[in-house]
Subunit: 408 residues, 2 copies
């Protein structure tokens, strides 16, 4: 008998029929004697509907009140799922974040969990009840309703699993696990049985479609056994996200290939090569709430250097506007941008012990005539920025070169 | 400066535009220096939508979980109204029933309010904030979300007004007050400036469309000054529901004419005229959750009597089924029913001091050839059951005979 936390996303509970489907799934685990805590998102589309209502009233709704409105989405789902479980003959009880209580800080719309009171849940579980908890929400010390931000239900699930010392946290989604790369680009892409937390974090661009990155960090920190699996396919083990590296002899050097289409590169030309210049350029960009991805600065000539970085393509115009106003201050010669770029990354803990992985990646790309515009590396990841038109080709040839396909 | 509790129903907050309209109304009172607590219902249609979702999962949803689901309707409205007030430049803060906290018993879907903690509301009011409270909901001692039943938002409003010792509780609806009778039947019907609580209770059949009867009882008990007015018409004083009788010299004998179309009369024939017979007949009917209205029992002949009562027409078949199974037990000769009936009532505290009111009513009806089938009286009301086809005629001639029209 295990204690399992199961999290079902918006698509999995998107209609009364799908909620019944979840109830049947939960009932099966319950019948096997497991203790089950279910965390649910709002029915798909509901959160957007509520945000749209708020935006009709004011373009920038007060975050506290937005949380009051948006948190109702998950509250509806917990009640409905409890009813569906009752209809299956399973005792079940729902909890809002406040009822649990999931205590957070007061950063409305992006609150962080401080603590979870597990007393009521443990008591219900010991009575054989399935406990259903509203994801994405909590309550601050003043009793205000808070939300954890988009994708926060994954974090709720992992945090509950950590607080309850659950044997496993299962994240049910509409995909059946983590793949070596996107199967729409490489049909030979293979579902991974396991992946390490570090790799999962580096696979962000793939992984974020599957799992909220913040929940992966949380799971890694609290050593929660996390599994991604499909709520629609039966009898599928999904992908287990592990703390230890696989002990298999056949440990692959790299585990997967991630990519991001919408990259834009900005180069600030001929800026003084002096301390503080990076902050002078990137400070105002960060202040404008623009996420910066890769950053490259070479040593220059004659005390001048070019400073390059990438941002999401939709942020390009905004970024250039910000830089236009700092250009004179930092005495730059000009600002150059390129928005038809993409990023491709190979990820794998195996590369730590295998020299020559970078060389192999660069040779593979050069054999296809693909020019590398930027390079960035970490312990377990090598990323390159290339022209977007080469994205599919690059992913395919790298997938093959590193032996990720089919029988692997 | 007054402390005013304003309650807006589902139609008044039925869309973002209407919520903005409410915000402007509230802002005007706030600008006059009043302290305002606003109680809101769910946006019109929302409660029904949520109940329908629940019914898709199970025909008889668990009441605790139904309350979890249904209470989200008001929670959405409080957040949206707070945003709309912010957009008007008014500081405002929303509260769920649990946040207030409005403590109730644990009778889910029809809970009764036990107490209201006014500390947080008072503190916000003293800071100049408008306080917005979700109607219809509360929380029990265990922290479970409860609802007060349909129309419970009126009760929330009155209960808050009582707890805060508000100067007035204003119920905004889509009508502009209480009328002497339904203007669709009598075009000369006149809006009443005042009506007593007792009269309002007796006007139930008219009043229930305007005000939840339970809230009127509550207001009477706690001496809350209650006013019904339109959320759409400006500059209208509505109808004030008062504790004292009007001191006007021109005090009318009756205040209004109420009616109910859907009456059905049932007569249980020749039952033994002995103690306990009423309970033997009506006990099983009440157990079947059927509301009984008028009850008539005459003394009989030879130890036998006829026992008559009325029920809502939609309950007639169900009632007859129930009686069929008790017929043998009570040894009745037969059961007779008539479903083409209606009830017309004249209501007024003035009739206490004016003999002859009943006689005038009966004469007026007989002059039109309307046969009276049942009569029932209280201190301030006389009701008659007549054939339904005479309803409009009866209401019109009584309205005229008692001088309720136009200039009064």
């Amino acid at each position: 008998m295990a204690l399992i936390v199961q999290k079902y996303g918006g698509t999995s509970v998107g209609s009364p029929d799908r909620i019944k489907n979840v109830a049947r799934k939960v009932a099966k685990f319950h019948a096997q004697g497991h203790q089950i805590v279910v965390v649910v998102s709002a029915m798909s589309g509901e959160t957007n509907r509520l945000i749209a209502l708020a935006k009709e009233l004011t373009p920038a709704p007060d975050p506290r009140e937005l949380d009051v409105v948006v948190s109702t989405g998950e509250q509806v789902t917990i009640g409905l799922l409890a009813m569906a479980l009752h209809a299956e003959g399973i005792p079940a009880k729902s909890y809002t974040g406040a009822q649990v209580k999931i205590l957070t800080d007061d950063a409305h719309t992006k609150a962080r969990i401080l603590s979870i009171n597990d007393a009521a849940i443990r008591s219900d579980l010991s009575e054989g009840k399935v406990v259903i908890v509203a994801g994405f929400q909590g309550v601050d010390t003043e009793g205000n309703i808070t939300t954890l931000g988009r994708g926060g239900s994954d974090t709720s699930g992992v945090a509950l699993a950590a607080a309850l010392k659950a044997d496993e946290c299962q994240i049910y989604t509409d995909v059946d696990g983590v793949y070596t790369t996107d199967p729409r680009i490489v049909p030979e892409a293979r579902k991974l049985d396991t992946i390490t937390f570090e790799e999962m974090l580096e696979m962000a661009s793939l992984g974020s479609k599957v799992l909220q990155i913040r929940s992966v960090e949380f799971a890694g920190k609290y050593k929660v056994k996390l599994r991604v699996l499909s709520s629609f396919k039966e009898e599928c083990q999904g992908t287990l996200i592990t703390i230890e590296e696989s002990k298999s002899m056949e440990q692959p050097i790299i585990s997967g290939i991630a990519f991001n289409r919408d990259e834009a590169k900005i180069t600030v030309q001929s800026v003084p090569d002096q301390p503080g210049i990076a902050y002078q350029i990137l400070g105002p960009v960060a202040d404008a709430n623009i996420d910066i991805d890769m950053i490259i600065q070479n040593s220059g000539h004659n005390g001048l250097t070019d400073f390059s970085f990438t941002v999401g393509r939709s942020d390009l115009d905004k970024t250039i506007n910000v830089l236009d106003s700092v250009k004179a201050v930092i005495n730059a010669k000009g600002i150059e941008s390129d928005k038809s770029l993409c990023k491709v990354s190979i990820v794998g803990v195996g590369m730590r012990s295998h020299p020559g992985v970078a060389a192999k990646m660069f040779r593979t790309l050069s054999e296809e005539g693909i020019n590398i515009r930027m390079i960035s590396t970490s312990e377990i990841k090598i990323s390159v920025v290339i022209e977007e038109k080469y994205l599919e080709l690059a992913v395919r040839v790298l997938h093959k070169a590193f032996g990720l396909g089919g029988a692997g």
